[in-house]
Each structure stands twice: as C-alpha cells, then as structure tokens.
C-alpha cells in the first residue's frame, strides 16, 4: 500500500478531526489550577435598594493554607501571618452578575464547583428566595451536593466566622452536616434536595438553619420556607421530631430526666411507617416509629435491670413522641405549611384521593389529624449492670 495514502488515512485525517472538535465544541477552556479561585461559599444578603443583593464570596488563599512551605520557597515569604480565606463582597442584582463584578477586582477566575455551602440571610429569605435561586439550577458549575442554609441575621456574618478547629470555614461548615449519625437536631440535605423540594411543593421546603458565633457556627434547628419565603424557625427539639416523622434519623440521642434519675439513650436506628387511616374531607394518618438504640449513660436511680429497662423504653418513647408532636404542632398550627411531605405521600400512594385534596391542601393540612405511636427497643445496655 502506498505510504502517503496510508499517512492520510491513518494519521492526517484523524488529527484534522481532532483539531476540528477543538473548535466545534468550543472546548478551549484550559485554565491552570493556580489561576482559579475555588469559591467555598456564597452568601446572599439584602442590598441597599430593593431588588439588589449584597453577594459575598468566600475565597480560600491556597498559599496560606499550605502553610507557606510549598510553592513559593524563597520568594513566597511568610505564610504564617497570612489569612487562609478572604471574603469578597459586591452589590448586584443577581449572583452571576455579582461574580462578574468581583472579576473586576480579582485577577483569577471564580470557580464554583468546589462550593460547599450557600448561605442566605434571614432578611432576604423573608422577602423571598425566588428571584435569585435560579442560577443554582441553571449553572452546571454550582455543585448540587453543596449545602444550603438560612442564616440567623446576616449571611455574611456566618462567612466571617473563623473557626479555630479548621482553616477553611466552608469545609468546616460543610463537614458539620456529616454529623447526622451523632445528632438528629438539624436538617441534613443538600442544595439538590432543597431545589427539588421547593419546586415540587409550591415553594415549601424545610431547610437548614445556621447561627453564627464568634469562632463557631451552630447548625441546630431548621428553617421553614413557605411560598419561597422564610416563614419561621424550628427549634432543635422540633427539628428532631420532624426528622423522626420524615424517617431521616440515623443517629442522635434522647435524654430522659425524671424523678428517679437521668438516662441518655443513643439512637442507632429509627424505622417509621405512615398510614392513611381515614379519608374523609380531612384525612387522618397514623405514624408508627420504632426506635432501637443503646443506653449509654444512666444515673444510679435508673441502673439497668429488667424493670428499669422497660421503664426507660417507655420514657424514651414518650419523649420522642412529644418531640414529634411538638414539631407537627409547630408546622400545622403556627406556620401552616406542609414541609413534612404529607401531600407527596398522598399524591404517591393515593393519587385518586389526592385529587380531592389537591386544591385545598394548604387549608386542609393544618386540620389533618396524625396519631403518633412510638416503640423503643434497647439493644445494648452497656457492660456493667
């Protein structure tokens, strides 16, 4: 076979094709890793005028994180005193515009795929989330696995917290959400969950609450969003109750305190089952929760024997039941918003019934009767009796 023919067929042609793809697909977005800022967090607060927002970006300074030892060497100079993160704020009508504004001041590209948490200020949340949450759905760069939280007060304040235990505030905040096996008193769930909820249920969602302190944040409690607006907060106990209702408890603890002594019950597993018991004009439900766990701490009065074991089981059940009822009362009576997905439950399992309730569900929800029964099994009583 002719060499030049083979050359054209086997080498030249594929190479030309390769080059062609480079232009056709517009894939030329090569950017060195040290020419990017990996935004850890975005905070949205109320702006000076209506329709404007104060948007802040939390940007890690990698030189300082690496401890000044790595790249710079002789020229770098002093990593010790450098701040590991900076906050860049701007006023803009949308988040993307805000990012572009910041580009006027920063020499590197903002890169959002490593964003860990979206913070929304309380005030702006009360006015409504709808105008600015769109880019989180539209832009591929926003990582749907990042967290979202409504800040108590100003969101930028949360961002300015400098944790003592970690260098990177965003990583610190995000890793708090990994503690679901230790506590059920916060709303776990990421940006993807939130976007799904808020669009599936009329702009209603249960979302995490974040409270800044001087060098720490607290993610206990929850925020209730009704029609894209912040309706109010749930306390930590109420949040745990709602989590029990939703079957999202994978850990945490319940402490009972009665006349005989104290006992801390560590939850290992919680199973729940929800049933429709009456389908009248207002539906009725029955929730059964079965909790298993260990007794990890008791005071002398409740030391473990067969009788006390039963007592503890009953007390724990009662405590959990009261938490659930508190949470439900808050949602049904105060906020009158279905963020516990009862509507979704009906829609999924009783689609014909749901048609009757669908239009009036907001009114019906607060009248819905939910009977709660909790059973507890102690699996492990500890080494000493």
């Amino acid at each position: 076979m002719n060499l030049s023919y083979r050359f054209f067929q086997k080498i030249f042609f594929p190479v030309v094709l390769l080059f062609a793809t480079a232009f056709v697909a517009g894939c030329w977005d090569y950017r060195d890793i040290d020419r990017r800022f990996f935004v850890g967090s975005v905070a949205i607060d109320k702006g000076p005028q209506p329709g404007k927002y104060n948007i802040s970006f939390l940007i890690p300074i990698v030189r300082a994180i690496a401890g000044g030892e790595g790249g710079g060497g002789g020229g770098g100079g002093g990593g010790g005193g450098e701040k590991p993160v900076v906050v860049e704020s701007t006023t803009a009508e949308t988040i993307i515009e805000g990012a572009r504004n910041v580009a006027l001041r920063l020499n590197r590209d903002l890169f959002f795929e490593h964003m860990r948490i979206v913070l929304i200020g309380e005030e702006v949340a009360r006015e409504g989330l709808e105008p600015f949450i769109n880019p989180f759905m539209r832009q591929t760069e926003f990582n749907r696995r990042s967290r979202i939280a409504i800040a108590v007060g100003e969101a930028k304040k949360v961002m300015e917290v400098r944790p003592v235990v970690e260098k990177l505030p965003a990583a610190y905040m995000e890793s708090l959400y990994g503690n679901a096996t230790h506590s059920g008193k916060f709303v776990a769930g990421d940006l993807g969950d939130f976007l799904h909820q808020i669009h599936a249920f009329n702009g209603n969602a249960l979302v995490s609450k974040i409270t800044p302190d001087s060098s720490e944040v607290n993610i206990g409690g929850g925020a209730v969003i009704k029609h894209f607006k912040l309706a109010g907060w749930l306390s930590e106990e109420e949040t745990q109750g709602v989590n029990f209702f939703l079957g999202k408890i994978t850990g945490g603890s319940v402490t009972i305190d009665n006349s005989r002594g104290k006992c801390t019950f560590v939850i290992l597993n919680a199973q729940r089952s929800l049933q429709l018991t009456a389908d009248g004009p207002v539906p009725e439900f029955q929730l059964k929760v079965n909790v298993t766990g260990n007794v990890s701490e008791t005071s002398e009065g409740l030391s473990m024997d067969t009788r006390n074991e039963e007592i503890i089981e009953i007390l724990v059940s009662e405590k959990i039941r009261s938490e659930i009822l508190k949470g439900l009362a808050r949602l049904q009576d105060d906020y009158r918003v279905d963020v516990i997905r009862l509507g979704e439950f009906l829609h999924k399992y009783y689609p014909r019934l749901w048609k009757n309730y669908k239009d009036r569900w907001e009114d019906i929800f607060s009248d819905v009767k939910i009977s709660v029964s909790v059973t507890t099994d102690i699996q492990n009583i500890g080494v000493s009796k």
């Binding site: 793809t21 894939c27 030329w28 990996f38 790595g70 060497g73 002789g74 020229g75 770098g76 490593h114």
Partner: protein
Amino acid sequence: MTDVFSRLRSGKKRDLYYERDMSPDTSKKLKKDIKENEKEVHEYLYDCDDVITRDFYMGTTQKHEMALMYIDGLVDKNLVQEEILKSLMLMTRQAPLEHNLGQNFFNMVKEGLLTAADIKEVDNFGEVVLGILSGDTILFMDKFEKALIISTRGWEKRGVQEPTTEAVIRGPREGFTETYRVNIALIRRRLKDPNLKVKTIKLGRHTRTDVGVLFIQGIASPNIVDEVLKRLNTIDVSGVLESGYIEQMIEGDWLSFFPQLRRTERPDVVAACLMEGNVAIVTDNTPFVLLAPGTFLSLFQSPEDYYERWYIASMIRLLRFAAAFFAMTFPALYIAMTAFHPGMLPTDLVLSIAATREGVPFSAVVEAIVMVISLEVLREAGVRLPGPIGQTIGIVGGLVVGEAAVRAGIVSPIMVIVVAVNAISSFAIPNYSVAIGFRLLTFIFIFLATVAGLYGIMLGLLLLTIHLVTLKSFGAHYLSPFVSFRFSEGKDFVVRGPMPSMEIRPGYTRPKDMNRMNDRRHDTTEKMEDENADKQ
C-alpha cells in the same frame, strides 16, 4: 531449506544470493587440478588476508596432494589440527594406504580417514566460498572435481548467560546468545519433539545471516508459517545485523506504535510460544528471537506469569495493565483534571495542588512537557553510559535536579510526582521497547489533554482502540483474546486462570491442535498403563 528456495524460485522470480554477479556461483564447478581450484577460490576471496591456505601431502608416500582453506579466527584450530591434519598426515603413516585406489580414494578419505564429525561433499565454488566464509574448513584433493566441507566452526563467543532485559525471580536463568546454533540448541533442548521444524534461510547480500524459522508441525497453522516464510523471502537488503531489521521489514503496519512481533531473549518463552502455535524467527548474531504473530496481550506477559501461582500471576498482570495505562496517560490526566475539570477532584486535593503550583512560572502543560522530556534525556543518558556512571546520572538527575527545580520554584512538586509515577509505570511493562512506545504516546495524550481535557483523552483512547482493533499480525487479531473472545479458549487474558483450567491453546494462532492437556485425574491406573503400553 531447499523447498524454501524452490518456493522462492517459483514465486517471485527473485535472484538467489549466489546467483548474483557479485556472489560465488554454484553453477561453476570445481576443477581437477588442485592448484587451479585454489587459484579460483583466491579470485573470489581476492584481498581477503584472513583466508588461510594450507597445502600438504597425505601419508608417507607424499603422493596425494591436498589443501585446506579456512578463515583464521572463525575455525576452531584444535579441530583442524586434531581431526583433519593429524588424521590425514600422521595416522596414515602408521597404516599406509593401498595404492591405486583411483576414484575410491576420495570416499576413503571422507569415510575412512577424517575423524571430524560433520562433513559435506560439494562440487561447486559457490558452496565452497560460502563454507569458508561461514567458518568451515574446505579440503581440496588433487585430481578430484569435488571438495569436502568440514564443519569446524568455532570462534570466540559469549557463553549462555542470564538474559538482562527479561530477568525473572522464578524461572530458568538461561538466555540466548549471539550464536545461531547455540540458540537453536537451547530451544531444541526444551522441545524434544521431531515435530519441531527448523528451516534455515540466509538473508542479507553481504551478511548472509542465518535466519531460522522454527515451528511445531501439527500445532502451528500452515498459513502463519507460509506467511512468515513468504515475508522473509521478500527481504532483499545488504545486511541483517539484528532481528530488529527483520522485524521492521516483515511487520504489517510500520506506522503503528505497537510492535507486531514479540521479541524475547528467553528460550523458555520461545518454547512456550511454539507450543501455542507461534512461529519463531531465530537470527544469527543476536540473542533476540522474534515470535509471530504478536498480540497486544503478549506485550504484558512475562514468563513468570506461568511459573507463579495464578493468583499472583493474575494480580501482577492486572498491575501491568494499570501501569501501561498510567504510562500513557498520567501526565495528561493530571493536566486535564487540574486545568479543565478541577471540580472532579476532592476539594482538599485541589487546594493543595493549587498551593504547590503557586509561584510556578510555567503552565502545567509546559511544565509537564519539560519534565517528561528531561526524564527521557536522563533515561537515555543512563542507558548509554557504563553501569556505575549510569547510576550516578540517575541519582544526579532524579534527586539533585528534581529537588533543586522544586526548591527553586520552577517546577511544582506534584508535577515531579506525576512524571515519576509515569516513568516508573512505564518500566513495569516487561518489554522495554514497548515501554518506550507507551512513553511516546504520553506526549500525544498530553497534547490531547491540553486541547480538550478529559474529552481529548477519551478521544485519544478511542482512536487507539480503533487502531488496535484493526491491527493484525500475520493474520491474527492484535487484540486477540479481547476481540472474538471465547472463554473456553484458555483462561489467559487479563487474568491468568489456574493451570488445570487452561485446557486448550489460545485460538489467535488458529492452532491445528487445540488440545493442550487432558484431565486424567479420574482415569484408572490400568487404563493409563494400557495406553502407555500401546505407545511403546
């Protein structure tokens, strides 16, 4: 040998080497007069001062004039003295020959007097001259139009040593040498089978190198044997100095990065491949034997895969595949991941990579190319220099230059790791020349990753796959166990199955006899004894 030539004659109408005007002519017959014969040979070997001629008379009678011709250094002088000169000059004195043997005298010398083992009778100058050049000794006798070629080849040669490019922990330590006969013998010692055929042809107008084509009749597919012989016979060059000459001239696709013949220094590998239906090409003057057809998988095979237990062998083979992948793509993956898709890496890793690149003046691509090239230079320098200095170069290059470059902030430490992993991976491939091929592909992948990120790397891998799928070696699919895969064809692909499960030979060579082993565990002893008795 003869049927090779006849095939040649009938097929391509090519001239044979000894029919060229520059070459000695087989049609030119020997003469009666010994002096004329000597003169004629000297005309062929004009100005060849290493040719020695020794005239002598046989026996006491001094009646029979004889002459020996050989090349100094190519013959074993002891053999010439002990087996030829001594037996003809001294032995005959003790027991004088009857006179007037006439025409029988020649046969008397050949069959009764010479104690040398390997003797051949010739009647033309072509074979005489070739014999002299090959290290044989020619015995001319006056008044006979014939001569004797006595095999006295014996020159300074390297002994059988451990192969340096294919060392194993477990397995024989013997490697091929530069001597054709020794190499053939090393193979024959492993295959005591009359079906092991050795067809020798000579290649190269000037070198006239012995090239042996070895195969096992009854296993090797005749198509492959014919194809190998056909391609070998199309070779018409001035010289063949190494099997690489042959490899490059008979491979199907010389644009490919992948060698289409397997090469080995190990007789046990050759024996194993012959038993799988391969054809071996043994070339004189080189320890490297070629095996056809080559497959992609064979690049990742080491003889130890079969000597070790199958778990170990399989794991090591998987490691080699991983190593080959990294040897091709690791710097490219690094570039694509950091420059195009940093979102795919864990945040902590991204930040630490970014931190190490802080202050590095070049982009990752330039950095990668500079590092890979300098590593290639170091490797090449290390290979060419004599042993101890080579090691020094390695240390100076690897430690001093690398460390200094990182300290000076010219290169990021991560890049040093990437390039080092890339280089070490390539050395995990058993075949050195293949490893270099993979290193070449590294550059292409770096380019693709720079243009289009992971998309480019995928594109490159696709093109590579397309190329490999279409590649064929002597009629066998290059990706053979993977394409047209049949599980029953022996469990010998990415992993190697347990030895008893490899009941049949791999199918890529289209072996005539697929059966590799029989399961006789449940045969009764009597039956086996019966069968053995039948065989005897």
